[in-house]
Amino acid sequence: MATRPFSITVSIIAALCVAGLVIGPVTAVVLRAEAFSGFTPADGQALRFTLVQATLSAALSVLFAIPLARALARRQFIGRRLLVALLGAPFILPVIVAVLGLLAVFGQSGLLNRLLAPLGVPEVQIYGLHGVVLAHVFFNLPLATRLILQGWLAIPAEQFRLAATLGMRPRAMWRSIERPMLQRIVPGAFAVIFVICLSSFAVALTLGGGPRATTLELAIYQSMRFDFDLGRAAVLGLLQLGLALTAGLIALRLTSLPVAAQGLDRPVPRWDRTDGIAIGTDTLWIVLAAVFLLTPLAMVTLNGLAGITTLGASVWQAAGHSILVALGSTALCLLWALPLASRWGEWLGLAGIALSPLVLGIGLFLIVRPFANPFELALYVTATVNAFVSLPFALRILRPEAEAVRTEYTRLSQALGLSGWAWLRWVLVPRLRRPLGFAAGLTAALSMGDLGVIALFADPDRATLPLKVYQLMGAYRMEQAAGGALLLLLLSLTLFWVFDRGGRVGSGT
C-alpha cells in the first residue's frame, strides 16, 4: 500500500545479492578445500601477530590521539582548519602511497637514517612488527584524533565556563570533565581501529612478511599465491571471519560515531589554556603530529615529481584499469547501499568488514572458473570485492539521511501516490545528493587505492595502479614507483573530490 524509498522487493534483491556474495564464495572455498588442513604453528603465529599488531596499533593510535585532540580542541592557530581537514585524508590515502612515503622517511636510505648517520646512531629498520605498527599508526592516528576531537567538542561550553568560575585547576578539570568523556569515546575508537588493523593486508605485504610478521590476511595470500592451498586459505579465512565479526560487533556496540564528523573546525572556548606548560605541550603535539603525517606525503610528492615523467605505458594502462575498477565499484556499491540504507541493511553490510576480501576473491574465482577464465575477469572481481568492502562505510554515511528522508516524506509521498521510480528520481536521490557524493567519493578513492584481491590474480596485462607500484617497488625501480605513487595519489584525491564536490553542488548545503 505505502510508497517506500525502495519497494521491499528491491531491498530484498539487494540483500540477497550481498548475502549471496558472502555465502557463495565462502561455500566455494570451503567445498574446494576438500578437507580442512590442520592448524599449523605458522597459522598460530599469524594469528598471534595479527592480534598483537592490531592491539599495539590501536593502543598507540589512541594514546597519541588524546593529547593531539586536546591540543586541537583548545588551540586556535593559522592552518588549524587545514590540519583538521588533513586528518581525514589518510582514510582515502592508498596504502601503497603511504608505505612509499614512510619508506622515504623511515626506510633504510630514508630521511631519518640520513639525519641520524652523522650522529653515529644505528640504522633504523622499518620492516617487521614496528614497521607494520608505524604504518597503522600513520593511518589511524588521524582517525582516532578525529573521533576523540569530536568527543571534546561535544562537551558543552557551559561545563568549561562552570569550571572557570569554580577556579578549577587543570587536574580537577581533567578529572571531572575530560576523563569521563574519554572513558566514553576511547573504547569505541580503540575498537574501530583494532578492527581495521585486524584485516591488514597491504601494509603487512609491504612492511611485514616473513614468518614473524605475517597477518592472517597475508597468510591467506601466501597460501594461495605460493602454495595454492585452498584448505589452508579456507581455515585462515574462516578464522579471520570469526575474529573480525566478533571485533566488529563489539566496535559497533561501543561506538556510533559518524564517519563524516561535522564541526571539527571550531575550538572549545575554555579558560585553562594560557598556562605556559599547556601552551608548550599543545604546540609540541601539534607540531609532532603535523611532521609525522605530512613529511611522508611531502616525500612522496617530491620523489614522485621526478619519477612521474619516467612512467612507462604499462603504468598508464594500469592507471586506466584502476579508474575503471573504481568507477565500477562505486556504481555497484551505491546500487547496493541505496536500498540497504536502513538499520538491518547496515548490519548486513558489516560483512564487508568481517569477511576477508581475499577469501571473497578466491571464492568468486572458484565460482566463475567453470564458465570463464577467471584471470580475464580479475578487474571485474576486484571491482565487485571493492564495492562490497566499501559497503559498510557507504551505509554508515547514507543511512542517517536516508532514514530522515523516509521519516519526513513518506506520508506526503503516500498521499501523492508516488511510484518507486518517482520517489527515487524526485525525492530520495536529490535529498541524498550530498551524502551520496561523499559515499561515492570515498568508495572510488578506496577502490582506486586498493591492493588486495588484485594482488592475487592479476596478470601483467590487467594490473591496477597500486599493484603496478608494488611491482615497481619489488623490482627496485623506486623512481618509477614514486612517480606511480604520486599519480595514484592524485587520481584518488581527484576522484574523491569530483564525487564529493558533485554531491555538494546544488544540494543546498
Binding site: 500500500m1 505505502a2 506520508r411 503516500q414 501523492l416 508516488l418 518517482a422 524526485w426
Partner: protein, 234 residues
C-alpha cells in the same frame, strides 16, 4: 451522505478511537479536541495512513476502507512537509499530477498555472519553498491540493505555524476555494476560533471518542462537560 464513517474502530496500543458520523458533499466540518485526543488519528484513518480494526468508510456509498491513500478521493494538508523543499513549485505540482513519473504532460502546465492563480501565486512556479514566505508556502500547498482535484480535503492543522492574521486569511482562502470547487473539507484544530470561522458543523474528539457533527456555534456556546473542560475560560 458523501462521506460516511460507519462504526470505525482504530487502536494504537491501549488507545482506541471510535467514530460514526456522516459528512455531506461540499460541507466543511471542524474536528475539535485536545492534544492526544485522537484528532489526527481520525484523519489518518480517513486518509488511509492507518487501517481501522473495524468499521467501514464510504464515499458516495462506495467502500474505500481498504484503498491506499493515493487511491482515495482524498487530499491532505499536513502540519508540515506538504511540498518537497528541494523541488520547484512546478515540479511539486507535476508530481501531484503525475505521481508515476513527475513529468509534465500536455495541458499540465496550464493546470499548474490555473492552480497557482487560484491561490494568488501566479508567476511562482519556478520558485522553491526557501524563496517563499510562510503564507506563500501554505498557498503553494493548497495549489497542490487543487491540481490533485480530489473531492475531499483533510486539513491537519496546516496553518498552525502561521500568525493569527495569516491563519485567518488562509482559512478564508481555503473556505473560498472549497466552496468554489465543491470540496468536502475536514479541518483538525485545537482552536475553537478556527472552527467558528471555518466550519458550520463540528465534531468533538475526547479520549478517542468522536461525537456526531453538530452546529459549531451551538456546540461551542453550550458545550458538553468534556468540551467545557477542554475549552476552559475560552
Amino acid at each position: 451522505m458523501a462521506l460516511e464513517l460507519d462504526h470505525i474502530c482504530a487502536r494504537a496500543g491501549t488507545f482506541e478511537l471510535t467514530a460514526t458520523f456522516d459528512v455531506a458533499s461540499g460541507e466543511r466540518v471542524a474536528i475539535l479536541g485536545a492534544s492526544g485526543s485522537g484528532k489526527s488519528t481520525l484523519l489518518d484513518v480517513i486518509a488511509g495512513f492507518r487501517q481501522p480494526e473495524a468499521g467501514v468508510i464510504r464515499w458516495h456509498g462506495t467502500d474505500i476502507t481498504n484503498r491506499p491513500p493515493a487511491e482515495r478521493p482524498v487530499s491532505i494538508l499536513f502540519q508540515d512537509t506538504n511540498l518537497f523543499p528541494h523541488l520547484t513549485i512546478r515540479q511539486n505540482l507535476a508530481l501531484a499530477l503525475n505521481p508515476a513519473t513527475g513529468i509534465l504532460r500536455k495541458g499540465d502546465e496550464a493546470r499548474i498555472e490555473t492552480g497557482l492563480a487560484r491561490v494568488g501565486l501566479s508567476g511562482f512556479a519556478s520558485r522553491r519553498l526557501s524563496e517563499m514566505s510562510g503564507g506563500q508556502q501554505s498557498r503553494a500547498a493548497l495549489a497542490r491540493v487543487l491540481v490533485q482535484a480530489r473531492p475531499v480535503l483533510l486539513l491537519d492543522e496546516p496553518f498552525a505555524a502561521l500568525g493569527p492574521a495569516l491563519k485567518d486569511e488562509m482559512l478564508d482562502l481555503v473556505a473560498g476555494v472549497a466552496d468554489g470547487e465543491g470540496l468536502t473539507v475536514l479541518l483538525v484544530s485545537h482552536d475553537p476560533k478556527d472552527a467558528r470561522r471555518f466550519a458550520p458543523r463540528s465534531v468533538f474528539v475526547d479520549g478517542g471518542e468522536v461525537t456526531a457533527p453538530q452546529d459549531t456555534r451551538a456546540l461551542l456556546d453550550d458545550p458538553p462537560p468534556s468540551l467545557r473542560a477542554y475549552l476552559g475560560e475560552m
